[in-house]
């Protein structure tokens, strides 16, 4: 590949949003990341819009979609694997048609948000951790499964500003899912179901209390004590986790205990958290909801004003409860098909999405960062990364489709 002609582009396929990929005449050089390679290899399986399974123009498809949304008592907008402009336009749609809007599979993110809402947070962005952290604790299963270049970029980076040696990397979690490719100075073996108890023990030890070893004889208390010591002695510790790797139903509790750990440590030294809050611009979607409506997720506009309720407005629950009567499903980066639902479904999906059944309306849109430009937020929320088109494509954007839908919905109720 001719380096001179190559231009750097960003990858939208995980929350790291690495922006050092090169696009040249033979495609995108993804620096060894399989996830990026798969994402950029997305095929155009279909660029056809359909109504009731039959080919239609984009305008016809949008007209039928508008009719479905106008006729619905309570529509649900979900999927929400979209760029920032797409999210802005979809929250506007939800506001106009009194819909519920909730990202699909958002339980870990909503758990994390709940802890912030109730107690707060103590965090840092990638750049701080990469340049300062002398001790890095990774909690739970190896996050590299979903964030392949995490350690390369935040831990094994070659030219940090303020640490002379590579950080000590410690893992607490299942030994079978320990971070690979980086040297661990310690591994505290805790299978996922025992993670909450192990974190409680860590928290107790840092508070100078005795860990409840008597009731949890299988916990490796000595290694946990060693871990507490390392964090305590660190100049700038960092704790990295993905709430998706916490035991089911205990994501909020584990996150809350980690916040307590961070607060304890910061009384004397510095230690920051990095909750890897999702991929596919899930942080960007949350930020748009926050600025447009005042809430980060699980929103309902049916009453005219935004209401937030993690249980009532949970997309997966609503689809099975029968409380919603139309589904607008939008998925670009994830290219996920809509769940098969009995209600009229409008599928606005990437060209490589494989649909299981013909929805009432099918609209094919581009993938931001591949088919057209756009912007996404990284998993650390603060930094918005510009995307550019990596291939020639005339597929419309989610924002353009949503903006064409909006005026056809009539005035706000």
């Amino acid at each position: 590949m001719n380096e001179a002609s190559a231009r750097g582009i960003a990858c939208p396929f995980c929350g790291l949003a690495c922006d050092d990929l090169l696009v040249g005449p033979i495609g995108v050089e993804t620096r060894g990341c399989a996830k990026a390679a798969a994402g950029f290899a997305a095929q155009i399986l279909s660029r056809e819009h359909r109504v009731g399974g039959e080919r239609a123009t984009l305008d016809q498809a949008i007209e039928v979609a508008a009719g479905i949304l106008r006729g619905a008592r309570l529509p649900l907008i979900s999927g929400l694997s979209v760029d920032l402009a797409g999210a802005q336009a979809l929250v506007a749609l939800a506001d106009r048609c009194g819909a519920v809007i909730d990202r699909w599979q958002s339980v870990p993110q909503v758990d994390t948000q709940g802890v912030v809402q109730r107690a707060g947070a103590l965090t840092a962005t990638f750049g701080e951790i990469a340049n300062r952290a002398d001790v890095v604790l990774i909690v739970g299963s190896d996050p590299a499964r979903d964030y392949p270049r995490l350690c390369e970029r935040l831990v094994a980076n070659k030219t940090p500003l303020y640490r002379k040696e590579p950080p000590s990397i410690v893992h607490i979690g299942p030994p079978g899912a320990a971070p690979s490719g980086v040297p661990l100075v310690a591994q505290v073996p805790v299978e996922t179901p025992r993670l909450l108890d192990a974190l409680r023990a860590l928290s107790a030890l840092l508070d100078g209390r005795r860990a409840a070893g008597g009731t949890a004889p299988d916990l490796p208390l000595a290694p946990i004590g060693d871990l507490a010591g390392r964090l305590h002695d660190a100049r700038y510790g960092a704790i990295i986790w993905d709430a998706a790797n916490f035991p089911a139903g205990e994501g909020g509790l584990c996150t809350a205990i980690l916040l307590h750990v961070l607060r304890s440590l910061n009384r004397k030294t510095r230690c920051v958290g990095l909750p890897l809050g999702g991929t596919g611009n899930s942080q960007g979607v949350a930020q748009v909801m926050l600025w447009q409506a005042g809430w980060p997720s699980r929103l309902c506009f049916a009453g005219g004003a935004p209401e937030h309720d993690p249980w009532r407005f949970h997309a997966e629950r609503l689809l099975t409860s029968g409380e919603v009567d139309a589904l607008l499903w939008v998925s670009t980066f994830a290219a996920a098909p809509p769940p098969v639902a009995t209600m009229p479904t409008i599928a606005v999906v990437a060209p490589n999405a494989v649909l299981r059944a013909a929805p009432a309306v099918e609209i094919r849109v581009g993938i931001p960062g591949l088919d057209h430009g756009g912007t996404i937020l990284r998993a650390d929320t603060v930094i918005a990364v510009p995307l550019s088109a990596a291939r020639a494509s005339d597929l419309p954007s989610v924002a353009s489709v949503a903006s064409a839908l909006l005026p056809r919905l009539g005035a706000a109720a």
């Binding site: 750097g8 922006d19 050092d20 920032l84 402009a85 802005q88 506007a92 506001d95 106009r96 912030v116 809402q117 109730r118 107690a119 707060g120 947070a121 103590l122 965090t123 840092a124 962005t125 990638f126 750049g127 701080e128 990469a130 300062r132 970029r153 935040l154 030219t159 940090p160 500003l161 100049r235 700038y236 910061n266 030294t269 510095r270 920051v272 930020q287 926050l290 600025w291 447009q292 409506a293 005042g294 809430w295 980060p296 506009f301 009453g303 005219g304 004003a305 935004p306 209401e307 937030h308 430009g373 912007t375 929320t381 603060v382 930094i383 918005a384 990364v385 510009p386 005035a411 706000a412």
Partner: protein
Amino acid sequence: MITRLTGGRLFDPANGVNGEIRDLCIDGGRIVADPGRGKADQTVDMRGRVVMAGGIDIHSHVAGGKVNLARLLMTEDHRDVLAPHAALTRAGSGTATPSSFVTGYRYAGMGYTAAFEPAMVPSNARSTHLEMADLPIIDKGTYVMLGNDEFLLDLLARGAEQERINDYVAWMMRATAALGVKTVNPGGISAFKFNERGLEIDGSVPHHRVAPRRVIQALTRALSELGVPHPLHVHCNNLGVPGNIDTTLATIAAAEGFPIHLTHVQFHSYGTEGDRHFSSAAARLAEAVNSNPNVTIDVGQIMFGQTVTASGDTMAQYRNRAFASPDKWIVMDIECDGGCGLVPFRYRDTNFVNALQWTIGLELFLLINDPWRVFLTTDHPNGAPFTAYPTLIRLLMDRDFRNASLGEIHPAAQQVTTLGSIAREYTLHEIAIMTRAAPARILGLADRGHLGAGAAADITVYKDDADRARMFTAPDHLFKDGAEVARNGAVVATPNGRTHVVRPDYDRGIERPLKKFFDDHMTLRFEHFALSESELADAGIDLSVHPCRPRGGA
């Protein structure tokens, strides 16, 4: 089409008009010279009305990552204060941290046509501007936060020439589409990352061994030499610390005569006298401002009630977590260029410290003589939400109301304050200076903040009401760029406002070390850091670029 507003009493301090009855003619979004008696396509009767330019808020945290974190934290506020959608307006929620659309509607309803986000972390610029694209009606702009960015601290540590610092500041302002530069606890946010819990103005930032005083010197001089209209906007070291008046006065000295703007000085005018070792130093600061014409300030008045403090000053916010009400808080270290901290506060008139803070802010307003150098702010939402402005204006204009309010606060605070003895009442002319003419001048917005021919037709029309709080809550009319956008406090049109920026010139040689810094150390590459013209345009952002007039570069 010419619209003639007839018979209103005009307060247009920039043009020396003080309450005279005059017609005002609008054509094509601009104020035009009177084309002659009776000539107009449309006439609006303004008799008995007070007419001013649209209000301009020079310091209000309305957008960006930290505002969003504050929204996330303020669950009660967003649950209890709902703003349903209507035919023209989007839905939203919140009072202390209203959602973006609601923020625009409320400012417009209150007669304001511009608000400036004062604490944009460089790495958060792209996200902040995209958010502000959803802040309707009013104009906006940002001050980019410098002085805790490791690149600048390194330049200073290595004794870089002032020209290189100027180049960097100019590059950063252009890259982040900023109108001004703010420094927040200069050096202190970086020091907190090195686990320092306090930093004095002549202290030393770890690793770099640079003093905050040096940061202030370098940045005030840079902006002056680049000809950026707005002087360095300074949130001093030691915010909220009893005795911090010495730091604030030292900050004025550090500017060495270059223009400097000290923000939310209420939080920086504290002494250590009295039984509680907390006292007002408003008189000392007022004296310094009165005798240093290079200094401007905004007050950051507190008003009693629930709000949230949102600041780039992680060092201060971490310290203030003890006062969080409700008890939750966020501190975040950001990308080797800044930070943010969110701490909910409930200011109580029955609390001695809060009561004294209230008197300190009012003392500052009343003791600083020149209304061209003092600006009306509550540091929204830190002292109070911006919707408290009408009540604040009444406190300044109505001594009886002020003294009655004073009689309701903590008795010990009543005893120690001089507020009750201050007779001054602000006039409408002075309010027009402080909220219109002076902010436009200090920001370099030549066609805003006044009603002369050629100005943008941003016009507020008030019913003259002896109850000044009622008068300033819901003006009869607000025109934005010539179009009526609000009537009796309700929004009637929702155009997009402009984003005001400056683009100082610089030597592109600075881009080489910057590229190396970003590509070697940062997690976003150099080529993706700067906002491009096309992405701003794609987001519907309408830029107004204001000229820089370099002053005697070295």
